[in-house]
């Protein structure tokens, strides 16, 4: 486990406490609690339908929790709406790609800058110098992030024409464009092959290294989780069934029964 980098002080802790989410006749999350330590990578794993994405949705303000609390940077997130959560520096990617298919990659990434930029209808409409400066400055940063993520050469291509894996990368880049303090990644390597997975894993690690931010990760690729996560929380049927360092969790019989299955080799 890598120790939190020195500059982790600026990144607040995410605390999820007793969060319960219900849908008509279904408890998707049942009093779930965990915390993401500043600057760490925290993995959320569990069988399909365990409530992982629901958890993301609660944190990012898309779903309302029936009870419980989510705190980040001194704010209560359960009552906040998505854009208010975003304003606190929480960014996420989506399990099912949610990009504007017809827009070029650059525009999709610029959307990530929304919370960091100011120009409104009037200043954009009148092309005030402030708006121009802003777009130049943030455009440069977008290019830098695209370069980092490896989508610089498709900046002008409409996203819809890109293959699935590249779209996933654009998703990550867009989240990074929000300059997050907490990054939520929902299955970032789904649909990628071995080499691409490794690249993506490296990318995620360098994100954390270079920015010192916290990452909350949902992933079914156990190999990857084992290698990049500092802490793991395991959900099953909406309940937290285990948590701790990856090696420990991996050996937990409950986790093996509910999630990993007896023969881990065959399933990885």
């Amino acid at each position: 486990m890598t120790p939190p980098p020195a500059h982790a002080g600026v990144v607040p802790e995410l605390v999820v406490e007793d969060v319960t989410v219900r849908f008509a006749g279904l408890v998707a999350l049942d009093a779930v609690s965990f915390a993401v330590a500043p600057g760490s990578t925290h993995a959320l794993i569990g069988p399909n339908g365990a409530g992982k994405s629901t958890c993301f949705n609660v944190v990012s303000g898309v779903y309302r929790a029936a009870s419980g609390s989510v705190r980040f940077a001194g704010a209560e997130l359960t009552a906040a709406r998505p854009h208010e959560v975003a304003a606190l520096g929480v960014a996420r990617t989506f399990q099912n790609i949610a990009l504007s298919a017809r827009l070029p990659v650059r525009d999709n990434l610029m959307l990530g800058r929304h919370r960091l930029t100011r120009s409104g209808f009037v200043s954009a409409g009148l092309r005030l110098p402030s708006a121009r400066r802003e777009s130049v400055r943030h455009g440069a940063r977008v290019a830098q992030i695209a370069e980092f993520v490896g989508v610089a050469d498709v900046l002008a291509t409409p996203v819809g024409l890109l293959p699935y894996g590249t779209q996933k990368r654009v998703e990550l880049a867009r989240a990074l464009c929000m300059e997050p303090r907490l990054l939520l990644l929902d299955e970032p390597v789904a649909g990628m092959n071995g080499e691409e997975r490794r690249e993506m894993a490296e990318l995620i690690v360098s994100v954390r290294e270079s920015l010192g931010i916290s990452i909350l990760l949902v992933e079914h690729d156990m190999g990857m989780v084992m290698r990049i996560a500092d802490t793991v929380t395991v959900l099953d049927f909406g309940r937290r069934i285990a948590g701790g360092p990856p090696e420990e969790v991996q050996r937990d019989p409950e986790v093996i029964r509910a999630y990993l299955g007896e023969s881990r080799e065959g399933a990885s």
Binding site: R81, D107, R113, H114, G120, F121, G125, A131
Partner: protein, 362 residues
């Protein structure tokens, strides 16, 4: 091709367009000037609805209502309240914005077909008010529109002005006002679309939840775009009232709203140039046909049985909507850019350099 030559080429094109537009009143007769002015007003309104429907994906069938608010507010504020006409015009546009804002509980919450049909309520409710609030609206017969007066210059037939031997009546004078208004409206909308708000609008259209998570306050933006779009409607209303010199409630009906939708689709969804091209097409086509209908084959003189010019105009209009949408994805604008690509020499004049196929933003 270097940036510089491209810049020069585009400057040349725009120069030619501007020169043509400025020279028009010296050569065109009143009928054409009036038609042109209607087209300009339609273009302003179409730009507004394109912001809403094209860029944000919010269908509106109620746009005519905002034209009505602008037109009537201008009349009321200038003749009844007695405000100077330019101030009345500005306040009329603001009034349309307020009307749009009042609708935001609906506009922020509904989308797609539901919003579209919900906005029909504006048309029917609005017309009900226009017909009944006679003291303000003049009821069924509407009201006369006081001419605009800017720095002592009156946009009316009298006092007589003759420029280069050409008598400058209200239409000739309004022509220039229309050009300026349209130019400003178009530039503003282009700025909005290419800037931060435009991205947020597109994001809402494509993926509402993702837009929210990216930090866009979705409901507020929807309502905001609705307000901006209604202000464009109001501005178009003021302009059309000035050209018309009369406002009547019947004009601001469902057909007008549908025309606006047709304009943006024919021209090209989501772009300013598309809205302008579509508006020109939709406003000019029927006029051309009624004017020159006699010369067309298969079109019979009105009153003689057979397909009358008005019917032919409707049929052609309907056919144009169908054909353009089906066979020219991206509208007339898309066709134009495809032609430009097909003809290499003209290609050098491209003023929209990036954005290939799905021209959804410009």
């Amino acid at each position: 091709m270097s940036r510089r030559t491209r810049w020069i080429a585009s400057a040349a094109v725009w120069g030619a367009v501007t020169a043509g537009a400025v020279a028009a009143p010296f050569y065109l007769e009143g009928f054409w000037l009036q038609t042109g002015l209607f087209a300009m007003s339609a273009a302003v309104g179409a730009i507004g609805i394109n912001l809403l429907t094209g860029a944000t994906g919010q269908l509106s069938l109620g746009h005519a209502f905002f034209l009505a608010v602008g037109a009537y507010a201008y009349v009321y504020l200038s003749s009844d309240v007695g405000l100077p006409t330019p101030l009345a015009a500005v306040l009329a546009v603001a009034a349309s914005g307020v009307a749009g804002g009042l609708f935001s509980p609906i506009a922020g919450r509904l989308k797609g077909a539901y919003l579209g049909i919900a906005t029909l309520a504006l048309i029917f409710g609005g017309q009900h008010v226009l017909f009944n609030a006679e003291t303000v609206t003049g009821g069924y017969n509407g009201r006369a529109v006081p001419p605009m007066e800017l720095f002592g210059f009156v946009f009316a037939d009298s006092p007589e002005v003759v420029v280069f031997d050409v008598p400058f009546g209200s239409l000739e004078r309004l022509w220039f006002l229309g050009l300026v208004v349209l130019g400003c409206a178009a530039l503003f909308a282009r700025g909005v679309l290419r800037g931060r708000p435009g991205l947020a609008m597109n994001a809402i259209r494509d993926h509402e939840i993702a837009a929210g998570v990216m930090g866009v306050p979705v409901a507020r933006y929807r309502a905001g775009v609705f307000v901006v779009s209604s202000m464009y409607g109001g501005l178009a209303g003021v302009l059309v009232a000035l050209v018309f010199q009369r406002v009547v409630p019947d004009y601001f009906g469902i057909l007008l709203s549908l025309d606006y939708l047709a304009m943006i689709v024919i021209g090209g969804l989501g772009s300013v140039a598309g809205a302008v091209i579509g508006a020109a097409f939709v406003s000019l086509l029927p006029q051309l046909l009624t004017r020159y209908g006699d010369a067309l084959p298969l079109v019979a003189a009105p009153g003689s049985g057979g397909v009358s010019p008005a019917e032919a105009a409707r049929i052609l209009y309907g056919a144009a909507v169908v054909t353009v949408v089906l066979f020219l994805p991206g509208g007339l604008l898309g066709l134009a850019s495809r032609l430009r690509r097909a003809i290499p020499r003209i290609k050098e004049l491209r003023w929209a350099n990036s954005a290939p196929e799905p021209a959804s933003r410009r």
